[in-house]
Protein backbone atom coordinates (compact mmCIF):
# COMPACT_ATOMS: atom_id res chain seq x y z
CA UNK A 1 0.00 0.00 0.00
CA UNK A 2 1.23 3.48 -0.84
CA UNK A 3 1.09 5.65 2.26
CA UNK A 4 1.22 9.39 2.77
CA UNK A 5 3.67 10.21 5.53
CA UNK A 6 5.71 13.21 6.54
CA UNK A 7 9.04 14.06 8.07
CA UNK A 8 10.37 16.51 10.59
CA UNK A 9 12.41 19.10 8.72
CA UNK A 10 15.14 19.91 11.23
CA UNK A 11 16.42 22.85 9.22
CA UNK A 12 13.03 24.55 9.34
CA UNK A 13 11.59 23.30 12.62
CA UNK A 14 8.44 22.10 10.89
CA UNK A 15 6.78 18.78 10.11
CA UNK A 16 6.08 18.38 6.41
CA UNK A 17 3.52 15.87 5.09
CA UNK A 18 3.31 16.17 1.33
CA UNK A 19 3.84 19.91 1.56
CA UNK A 20 1.35 20.53 4.37
CA UNK A 21 2.59 21.50 7.84
CA UNK A 22 1.38 19.17 10.59
CA UNK A 23 1.40 20.16 14.25
CA UNK A 24 0.59 18.20 17.37
CA UNK A 25 -2.64 19.24 19.02
CA UNK A 26 -4.70 17.65 21.73
CA UNK A 27 -8.43 17.13 22.12
CA UNK A 28 -8.65 20.04 24.57
CA UNK A 29 -7.63 22.46 21.83
CA UNK A 30 -9.88 21.07 19.12
CA UNK A 31 -12.89 20.81 21.42
CA UNK A 32 -12.51 24.20 23.07
CA UNK A 33 -12.06 25.86 19.69
CA UNK A 34 -15.25 24.25 18.40
CA UNK A 35 -17.09 25.18 21.60
CA UNK A 36 -15.97 28.81 21.16
CA UNK A 37 -16.95 28.99 17.52
CA UNK A 38 -20.27 27.28 18.11
CA UNK A 39 -21.18 29.95 20.62
CA UNK A 40 -21.30 32.36 17.67
CA UNK A 41 -23.24 30.09 15.35
CA UNK A 42 -26.42 32.14 15.50
CA UNK A 43 -24.77 34.93 13.57
CA UNK A 44 -21.64 33.41 11.99
CA UNK A 45 -21.98 30.48 9.60
CA UNK A 46 -19.25 28.51 11.31
CA UNK A 47 -20.04 25.02 10.03
CA UNK A 48 -19.32 25.73 6.34
CA UNK A 49 -16.31 27.76 7.43
CA UNK A 50 -14.81 24.78 9.27
CA UNK A 51 -15.86 22.25 6.62
CA UNK A 52 -14.47 24.26 3.72
CA UNK A 53 -11.10 24.94 5.35
CA UNK A 54 -10.55 21.20 5.71
CA UNK A 55 -11.76 20.54 2.18
CA UNK A 56 -9.15 22.93 0.79
CA UNK A 57 -6.38 21.23 2.74
CA UNK A 58 -7.13 17.59 1.97
CA UNK A 59 -7.60 18.50 -1.67
CA UNK A 60 -4.31 20.42 -1.83
CA UNK A 61 -2.36 17.72 -0.01
CA UNK A 62 -3.77 14.62 -1.67
CA UNK A 63 -3.67 16.13 -5.17
CA UNK A 64 0.11 16.22 -4.73
CA UNK A 65 0.16 12.71 -3.33
CA UNK A 66 -1.90 11.34 -6.20
CA UNK A 67 0.25 13.20 -8.73
CA UNK A 68 3.30 11.49 -7.25
CA UNK A 69 1.49 8.17 -7.37
CA UNK A 70 -0.40 8.30 -10.66
CA UNK A 71 -1.10 4.59 -11.00
CA UNK A 72 -3.19 4.11 -7.89
CA UNK A 73 -6.56 2.43 -8.40
CA UNK A 74 -9.65 3.84 -6.71
CA UNK A 75 -9.39 1.15 -4.06
CA UNK A 76 -5.73 1.94 -3.42
CA UNK A 77 -6.55 5.64 -3.14
CA UNK A 78 -9.24 4.93 -0.56
CA UNK A 79 -6.82 2.74 1.39
CA UNK A 80 -4.24 5.51 1.41
CA UNK A 81 -6.83 8.07 2.55
CA UNK A 82 -8.10 5.91 5.41
CA UNK A 83 -4.54 5.06 6.35
CA UNK A 84 -3.57 8.73 6.51
CA UNK A 85 -6.64 9.62 8.58
CA UNK A 86 -5.62 6.99 11.12
CA UNK A 87 -1.89 7.82 10.93
CA UNK A 88 -2.69 11.43 11.84
CA UNK A 89 -4.69 10.26 14.83
CA UNK A 90 -8.06 11.40 13.45
CA UNK A 91 -9.37 7.83 13.78
CA UNK A 92 -10.26 4.89 11.59
CA UNK A 93 -12.33 5.40 8.44
CA UNK A 94 -14.34 2.74 6.66
CA UNK A 95 -15.67 3.47 3.16
CA UNK A 96 -19.00 1.66 2.85
CA UNK A 97 -20.34 2.90 -0.45
CA UNK A 98 -18.44 4.83 -3.07
CA UNK A 99 -20.30 6.15 -6.11
CA UNK A 100 -20.07 9.45 -7.92
CA UNK A 101 -23.42 10.51 -6.42
CA UNK A 102 -22.95 9.35 -2.88
CA UNK A 103 -20.20 8.14 -0.61
CA UNK A 104 -20.93 6.70 2.82
CA UNK A 105 -18.20 6.52 5.43
CA UNK A 106 -18.06 5.24 8.99
CA UNK A 107 -15.59 6.30 11.64
CA UNK A 108 -15.92 4.01 14.65
CA UNK A 109 -13.39 6.14 16.54
CA UNK A 110 -12.96 9.76 15.63
CA UNK A 111 -10.55 12.24 17.26
CA UNK A 112 -12.99 15.13 17.19
CA UNK A 113 -15.97 13.17 18.48
CA UNK A 114 -14.03 11.30 21.14
CA UNK A 115 -12.26 14.51 22.09
CA UNK A 116 -15.52 16.36 22.63
CA UNK A 117 -16.90 13.52 24.74
CA UNK A 118 -13.74 13.48 26.86
CA UNK A 119 -13.79 17.22 27.44
CA UNK A 120 -17.43 18.22 27.56
CA UNK A 121 -19.46 15.02 27.69
CA UNK A 122 -22.36 14.36 25.35
CA UNK A 123 -23.19 17.11 22.91
CA UNK A 124 -26.57 18.75 23.33
CA UNK A 125 -29.38 17.47 21.11
CA UNK A 126 -29.85 20.86 19.45
CA UNK A 127 -26.18 21.09 18.46
CA UNK A 128 -25.07 20.43 14.92
CA UNK A 129 -25.13 16.68 14.16
CA UNK A 130 -21.53 16.22 15.07
CA UNK A 131 -18.17 17.42 16.32
CA UNK A 132 -16.12 16.11 13.38
CA UNK A 133 -16.15 19.20 11.20
CA UNK A 134 -12.60 18.62 10.06
CA UNK A 135 -13.37 15.08 8.96
CA UNK A 136 -16.38 16.29 6.96
CA UNK A 137 -14.29 18.76 4.97
CA UNK A 138 -11.44 16.29 4.68
CA UNK A 139 -13.80 13.80 3.02
CA UNK A 140 -15.24 16.40 0.66
CA UNK A 141 -11.77 17.31 -0.63
CA UNK A 142 -11.04 13.63 -1.12
CA UNK A 143 -14.28 13.14 -3.06
CA UNK A 144 -13.38 16.05 -5.35
CA UNK A 145 -10.11 14.30 -6.12
CA UNK A 146 -11.13 10.69 -6.55
CA UNK A 147 -13.88 11.65 -8.96
CA UNK A 148 -11.56 14.15 -10.70
CA UNK A 149 -13.82 17.11 -10.04
CA UNK A 150 -12.67 20.66 -9.28
CA UNK A 151 -12.09 21.65 -5.68
CA UNK A 152 -15.39 22.50 -4.01
CA UNK A 153 -17.56 20.06 -5.95
CA UNK A 154 -18.59 17.88 -3.02
CA UNK A 155 -19.95 18.43 0.46
CA UNK A 156 -20.17 16.18 3.50
CA UNK A 157 -22.84 15.83 6.12
CA UNK A 158 -22.15 14.15 9.43
CA UNK A 159 -25.01 11.71 9.96
CA UNK A 160 -24.14 10.40 13.41
CA UNK A 161 -21.56 11.26 16.00
CA UNK A 162 -20.06 9.56 19.01
CA UNK A 163 -20.26 12.91 20.78
CA UNK A 164 -24.05 12.89 20.39
CA UNK A 165 -24.41 9.48 21.98
CA UNK A 166 -24.41 7.52 18.73
CA UNK A 167 -22.51 4.23 18.54
CA UNK A 168 -20.42 5.42 15.65
CA UNK A 169 -19.60 8.56 13.68
CA UNK A 170 -20.77 8.43 10.07
CA UNK A 171 -20.75 10.68 7.06
CA UNK A 172 -22.49 11.13 3.72
CA UNK A 173 -20.69 12.87 0.85
CA UNK A 174 -22.70 14.18 -2.09
CA UNK A 175 -22.15 16.61 -4.99
CA UNK A 176 -22.97 20.23 -4.19
CA UNK A 177 -25.74 21.81 -6.25
CA UNK A 178 -23.41 24.73 -6.92
CA UNK A 179 -19.66 24.30 -6.64
CA UNK A 180 -18.13 26.26 -3.78
CA UNK A 181 -15.47 28.79 -4.61
CA UNK A 182 -12.59 27.44 -2.54
CA UNK A 183 -8.85 27.96 -2.79
CA UNK A 184 -5.76 25.82 -2.46
CA UNK A 185 -3.79 26.26 0.76
CA UNK A 186 -0.46 28.12 0.83
CA UNK A 187 1.11 24.73 1.68
CA UNK A 188 4.15 25.29 3.94
CA UNK A 189 3.53 29.02 3.65
CA UNK A 190 5.96 31.89 3.95
CA UNK A 191 8.92 30.18 5.59
CA UNK A 192 11.34 32.85 6.73
CA UNK A 193 14.40 30.83 7.62
CA UNK A 194 16.17 27.72 6.40
CA UNK A 195 19.27 25.96 7.68
CA UNK A 196 18.19 26.36 11.31
CA UNK A 197 19.86 24.43 14.08
CA UNK A 198 18.66 24.09 17.63
CA UNK A 199 21.44 24.87 20.08
CA UNK A 200 21.61 24.62 23.83
CA UNK A 201 21.00 27.76 25.86
CA UNK A 202 24.02 29.17 27.72
CA UNK A 203 21.97 29.76 30.90
CA UNK A 204 20.67 26.22 31.27
CA UNK A 205 21.78 22.60 31.52
CA UNK A 206 18.91 21.52 29.33
CA UNK A 207 19.90 19.49 26.31
CA UNK A 208 17.79 21.18 23.64
CA UNK A 209 19.24 19.10 20.83
CA UNK A 210 18.75 15.84 22.69
CA UNK A 211 15.15 16.62 23.62
CA UNK A 212 14.32 17.60 20.06
CA UNK A 213 15.83 14.41 18.72
CA UNK A 214 14.16 12.22 21.35
CA UNK A 215 10.69 13.65 20.80
CA UNK A 216 10.82 13.86 17.02
CA UNK A 217 12.00 10.25 16.85
CA UNK A 218 9.20 8.95 19.06
CA UNK A 219 6.80 7.14 16.72
CA UNK A 220 3.57 8.46 18.27
CA UNK A 221 1.84 5.67 16.38
CA UNK A 222 -1.93 5.60 16.41
CA UNK A 223 -3.56 2.59 18.03
CA UNK A 224 -4.17 -0.08 15.41
CA UNK A 225 -7.76 -0.74 16.43
CA UNK A 226 -8.92 2.88 16.78
CA UNK A 227 -6.63 5.13 14.75
CA UNK A 228 -6.32 7.39 17.79
CA UNK A 229 -3.23 8.51 19.68
CA UNK A 230 -3.59 8.43 23.44
CA UNK A 231 -0.47 9.88 24.98
CA UNK A 232 0.49 12.02 27.96
CA UNK A 233 -3.06 11.96 29.32
CA UNK A 234 -4.61 13.55 26.23
CA UNK A 235 -5.88 12.42 22.84
CA UNK A 236 -3.28 13.72 20.41
CA UNK A 237 -3.34 14.24 16.69
CA UNK A 238 -0.94 15.41 14.03
CA UNK A 239 -3.31 17.98 12.68
CA UNK A 240 -3.02 20.29 9.71
CA UNK A 241 -1.44 23.53 10.89
CA UNK A 242 -3.17 25.33 8.06
CA UNK A 243 -6.55 24.07 9.23
CA UNK A 244 -6.62 25.73 12.60
CA UNK A 245 -4.94 28.83 11.16
CA UNK A 246 -7.53 29.14 8.40
CA UNK A 247 -10.42 28.54 10.78
CA UNK A 248 -9.12 31.05 13.34
CA UNK A 249 -8.41 33.90 10.92
CA UNK A 250 -11.58 33.41 8.88
CA UNK A 251 -13.61 33.35 12.05
CA UNK A 252 -12.05 36.62 13.21
CA UNK A 253 -12.86 38.26 9.89
CA UNK A 254 -16.46 37.09 10.21
CA UNK A 255 -16.65 38.38 13.78
CA UNK A 256 -15.35 41.74 12.61
CA UNK A 257 -18.07 41.90 9.94
CA UNK A 258 -20.83 41.05 12.39
CA UNK A 259 -19.71 42.72 15.60
CA UNK A 260 -16.81 45.00 14.70
CA UNK A 261 -13.90 45.54 17.03
CA UNK A 262 -15.83 44.24 20.01
CA UNK A 263 -16.47 40.90 18.36
CA UNK A 264 -12.81 40.53 17.43
CA UNK A 265 -11.63 41.30 20.98
CA UNK A 266 -13.88 38.70 22.55
CA UNK A 267 -12.99 36.11 19.91
CA UNK A 268 -9.24 36.71 20.14
CA UNK A 269 -9.24 35.96 23.85
CA UNK A 270 -11.01 32.69 23.18
CA UNK A 271 -8.51 31.69 20.50
CA UNK A 272 -5.67 32.42 22.93
CA UNK A 273 -7.42 30.41 25.61
CA UNK A 274 -7.63 27.46 23.20
CA UNK A 275 -3.82 27.59 22.98
CA UNK A 276 -3.50 28.00 26.73
CA UNK A 277 -5.68 25.03 27.54
CA UNK A 278 -3.93 22.93 24.88
CA UNK A 279 -0.43 23.57 26.19
CA UNK A 280 -1.51 23.27 29.80
CA UNK A 281 -2.82 19.76 29.32
CA UNK A 282 -0.36 18.50 26.70
CA UNK A 283 2.81 19.98 28.20
CA UNK A 284 1.47 19.28 31.68
CA UNK A 285 1.01 15.66 30.61
CA UNK A 286 4.49 15.52 29.12
CA UNK A 287 6.09 17.09 32.22
CA UNK A 288 4.50 14.55 34.53
CA UNK A 289 5.07 11.55 32.25
CA UNK A 290 7.40 8.60 32.83
CA UNK A 291 9.31 9.63 29.69
CA UNK A 292 10.00 13.07 31.19
CA UNK A 293 11.10 11.60 34.49
CA UNK A 294 13.35 9.08 32.75
CA UNK A 295 14.98 11.29 30.13
CA UNK A 296 14.70 14.92 31.17
CA UNK A 297 14.03 15.35 34.87
CA UNK A 298 17.51 14.09 35.93
CA UNK A 299 19.10 17.02 34.06
CA UNK A 300 16.93 19.71 35.67
CA UNK A 301 18.35 21.64 38.60
CA UNK A 302 16.11 24.70 38.91
CA UNK A 303 12.61 25.83 37.99
CA UNK A 304 14.27 27.80 35.24
CA UNK A 305 15.49 24.53 33.76
CA UNK A 306 11.89 23.26 33.73
CA UNK A 307 10.94 26.20 31.53
CA UNK A 308 13.88 25.58 29.21
CA UNK A 309 13.04 21.89 28.94
CA UNK A 310 9.41 22.56 28.12
CA UNK A 311 10.46 25.04 25.43
CA UNK A 312 12.75 22.34 24.07
CA UNK A 313 9.71 20.02 23.88
CA UNK A 314 7.68 22.65 22.05
CA UNK A 315 10.34 22.66 19.35
CA UNK A 316 9.40 19.10 18.48
CA UNK A 317 5.70 19.74 17.97
CA UNK A 318 5.92 21.38 14.54
CA UNK A 319 5.14 24.92 15.69
CA UNK A 320 8.58 26.25 14.63
CA UNK A 321 11.69 26.64 16.80
CA UNK A 322 11.52 28.60 20.03
CA UNK A 323 14.49 30.50 21.37
CA UNK A 324 14.45 32.14 24.80
CA UNK A 325 15.95 35.60 24.46
CA UNK A 326 15.09 37.00 27.89
CA UNK A 327 14.12 35.18 31.06
CA UNK A 328 13.53 36.52 34.54
CA UNK A 329 12.31 33.60 36.65
CA UNK A 330 8.72 33.90 37.83
CA UNK A 331 8.47 37.30 36.16
CA UNK A 332 9.11 37.48 32.45
CA UNK A 333 9.84 35.25 29.48
CA UNK A 334 10.60 36.47 25.96
CA UNK A 335 10.69 33.92 23.17
CA UNK A 336 11.65 34.39 19.55
CA UNK A 337 9.96 31.92 17.24
CA UNK A 338 11.67 30.85 14.06
CA UNK A 339 9.27 29.81 11.28
CA UNK A 340 6.19 30.04 13.51
CA UNK A 341 3.51 28.10 11.67
CA UNK A 342 0.82 30.68 12.34
CA UNK A 343 2.99 33.36 10.72
CA UNK A 344 3.93 31.11 7.82
CA UNK A 345 0.25 30.73 6.99
CA UNK A 346 -0.85 34.27 7.73
CA UNK A 347 1.89 36.05 5.78
CA UNK A 348 1.44 33.77 2.77
CA UNK A 349 -2.34 34.10 2.78
CA UNK A 350 -2.99 37.65 3.95
CA UNK A 351 0.32 39.51 4.09
CA UNK A 352 0.37 42.14 6.80
CA UNK A 353 -2.00 42.85 9.68
CA UNK A 354 -2.51 45.58 12.22
CA UNK A 355 -3.80 43.03 14.70
CA UNK A 356 -2.02 40.25 16.57
CA UNK A 357 -1.92 37.02 14.63
CA UNK A 358 -0.52 34.65 17.27
CA UNK A 359 -3.11 32.87 19.31
CA UNK A 360 -1.99 29.30 19.83
CA UNK A 361 1.55 30.37 20.68
CA UNK A 362 0.56 33.27 22.95
CA UNK A 363 -1.62 30.95 24.99
CA UNK A 364 0.87 28.12 24.78
CA UNK A 365 3.86 30.02 26.11
CA UNK A 366 1.82 31.57 28.91
CA UNK A 367 0.71 28.08 29.89
CA UNK A 368 4.29 26.98 30.16
CA UNK A 369 5.10 29.69 32.73
CA UNK A 370 1.83 28.97 34.53
CA UNK A 371 2.63 25.26 34.76
CA UNK A 372 6.06 25.87 36.25
CA UNK A 373 5.50 28.85 38.54
CA UNK A 374 1.80 28.76 39.39
CA UNK A 375 0.88 25.09 38.97
CA UNK A 376 4.15 23.86 40.54
CA UNK A 377 4.46 21.17 37.94
CA UNK A 378 7.65 19.84 39.52
CA UNK A 379 5.47 18.55 42.39
CA UNK A 380 3.83 16.25 39.83
CA UNK A 381 0.17 17.28 40.23
CA UNK A 382 -2.59 15.40 38.44
CA UNK A 383 -3.37 17.29 35.24
CA UNK A 384 -7.12 17.61 35.69
CA UNK A 385 -9.76 20.23 34.99
CA UNK A 386 -9.62 21.18 38.67
CA UNK A 387 -5.85 21.66 38.50
CA UNK A 388 -6.29 23.79 35.39
CA UNK A 389 -8.99 25.94 36.93
CA UNK A 390 -6.95 26.47 40.09
CA UNK A 391 -3.92 27.90 38.35
CA UNK A 392 -5.91 29.73 35.71
CA UNK A 393 -7.83 31.56 38.39
CA UNK A 394 -4.74 32.36 40.43
CA UNK A 395 -3.87 36.03 40.85
CA UNK A 396 -0.27 35.03 40.12
CA UNK A 397 -0.97 33.70 36.65
CA UNK A 398 0.87 34.71 33.48
CA UNK A 399 -0.40 35.92 30.13
CA UNK A 400 1.28 36.24 26.78
CA UNK A 401 1.44 39.13 24.33
CA UNK A 402 2.71 39.35 20.81
CA UNK A 403 5.64 41.78 20.76
CA UNK A 404 6.90 41.23 17.23
CA UNK A 405 5.46 39.61 14.15
CA UNK A 406 6.46 39.06 10.56
CA UNK A 407 2.86 39.98 9.75
CA UNK A 408 3.49 43.35 11.37
CA UNK A 409 6.57 44.41 9.40
CA UNK A 410 8.97 42.99 11.95
CA UNK A 411 11.90 40.85 10.91
CA UNK A 412 10.90 38.02 13.25
CA UNK A 413 8.18 36.71 15.55
CA UNK A 414 8.34 37.22 19.29
CA UNK A 415 6.08 36.63 22.29
CA UNK A 416 6.51 37.99 25.78
CA UNK A 417 4.98 36.36 28.85
CA UNK A 418 4.40 38.44 31.96
CA UNK A 419 2.11 38.41 35.00
CA UNK A 420 -1.52 38.94 34.02
Amino acid sequence: MKTLRGYFDYEKGLYNACDEPLVFHCHHYASFLLFSLESAREYVDIYPLMHDAAQEISYTQFSKFFTKNPDLTLEEKLEAIADYHAFSGYGKLEFEKVTIDEILVKSPHNFFSVGWLEKFGTKRPDDYPGASLMTTGFLSGIADLIFEKPLGSYQTEQLTCLSKGDDISSFKITPRAIRANLELTPSMGDIAEDGLKVINHPDSNVNYEGILKAFTEMPFDSEADTGLKNAFGVVLSRIYGNYFSAVSYRFLYEMEKVAGEEGVKIAEELLIEAGHVCSSFTLGGIMTSPEWYAMIKPTLETQKDWVHASVACLNALGFGYHEITEFIPNEKLVVRIHNAYESNYFVARYGQSERPIFFLQIGGLAALMNLVYVGKIEEKPSITAEFYDSFYKSKERFKGVQTKSRAHQDAFDEIMVVKA
Binding site: F35, A40, E42, A259, L270, K393
Partner: protein, 75 residues
Protein backbone atom coordinates in the same frame (compact mmCIF):
# COMPACT_ATOMS: atom_id res chain seq x y z
CA UNK B 1 -32.05 44.55 40.54
CA UNK B 2 -32.83 48.20 41.10
CA UNK B 3 -35.81 50.45 40.50
CA UNK B 4 -33.99 51.77 37.43
CA UNK B 5 -34.22 48.35 35.79
CA UNK B 6 -30.53 47.60 36.00
CA UNK B 7 -28.32 45.23 37.95
CA UNK B 8 -24.70 45.70 38.93
CA UNK B 9 -22.35 43.55 36.85
CA UNK B 10 -20.02 43.07 39.84
CA UNK B 11 -21.64 40.07 41.56
CA UNK B 12 -22.50 38.49 38.23
CA UNK B 13 -18.93 38.69 36.98
CA UNK B 14 -17.63 37.45 40.31
CA UNK B 15 -19.97 34.47 40.25
CA UNK B 16 -19.09 33.59 36.65
CA UNK B 17 -15.37 33.84 37.33
CA UNK B 18 -15.65 31.75 40.46
CA UNK B 19 -18.14 29.07 39.45
CA UNK B 20 -17.70 28.56 35.72
CA UNK B 21 -14.68 27.42 33.67
CA UNK B 22 -12.08 29.95 32.50
CA UNK B 23 -13.19 32.42 29.83
CA UNK B 24 -16.87 31.64 30.37
CA UNK B 25 -17.67 35.35 30.26
CA UNK B 26 -16.23 35.45 26.73
CA UNK B 27 -18.25 32.42 25.71
CA UNK B 28 -21.40 34.02 27.09
CA UNK B 29 -20.54 37.30 25.38
CA UNK B 30 -19.94 35.52 22.11
CA UNK B 31 -23.26 33.74 22.34
CA UNK B 32 -25.09 36.95 23.24
CA UNK B 33 -23.11 39.41 21.15
CA UNK B 34 -26.17 40.79 19.40
CA UNK B 35 -28.05 41.38 22.66
CA UNK B 36 -25.04 43.14 24.18
CA UNK B 37 -24.65 45.40 21.19
CA UNK B 38 -28.37 46.16 21.08
CA UNK B 39 -28.07 47.47 24.63
CA UNK B 40 -24.89 49.33 23.67
CA UNK B 41 -22.91 47.31 26.18
CA UNK B 42 -19.38 46.28 25.18
CA UNK B 43 -18.83 42.91 26.89
CA UNK B 44 -15.04 43.27 26.81
CA UNK B 45 -15.35 46.49 28.80
CA UNK B 46 -17.84 45.30 31.41
CA UNK B 47 -16.36 45.79 34.85
CA UNK B 48 -17.47 45.98 38.47
CA UNK B 49 -18.96 49.46 37.91
CA UNK B 50 -21.10 48.51 34.91
CA UNK B 51 -24.88 48.43 35.28
CA UNK B 52 -26.53 45.78 33.13
CA UNK B 53 -30.15 46.15 31.95
CA UNK B 54 -32.34 43.58 33.69
CA UNK B 55 -33.48 42.21 30.35
CA UNK B 56 -29.85 41.46 29.50
CA UNK B 57 -29.29 39.84 32.88
CA UNK B 58 -32.18 37.50 32.22
CA UNK B 59 -30.65 36.56 28.88
CA UNK B 60 -27.31 35.94 30.61
CA UNK B 61 -29.09 33.72 33.09
CA UNK B 62 -30.67 31.67 30.30
CA UNK B 63 -27.39 31.40 28.44
CA UNK B 64 -25.60 30.11 31.54
CA UNK B 65 -28.32 27.55 32.03
CA UNK B 66 -28.13 26.50 28.41
CA UNK B 67 -24.32 26.33 28.13
CA UNK B 68 -23.28 25.20 31.59
CA UNK B 69 -26.47 23.86 33.15
CA UNK B 70 -25.98 26.13 36.15
CA UNK B 71 -28.25 28.71 37.80
CA UNK B 72 -27.01 32.25 38.15
CA UNK B 73 -28.17 33.45 41.60
CA UNK B 74 -30.64 36.34 41.82
CA UNK B 75 -28.90 39.65 42.47
Amino acid sequence: MTATGTTSAQPILAWINEELPPLSWNIIAMKMMRQFLQHKIMPSQVNDHTELPDELVEDIRETIKSLYNQELPQY
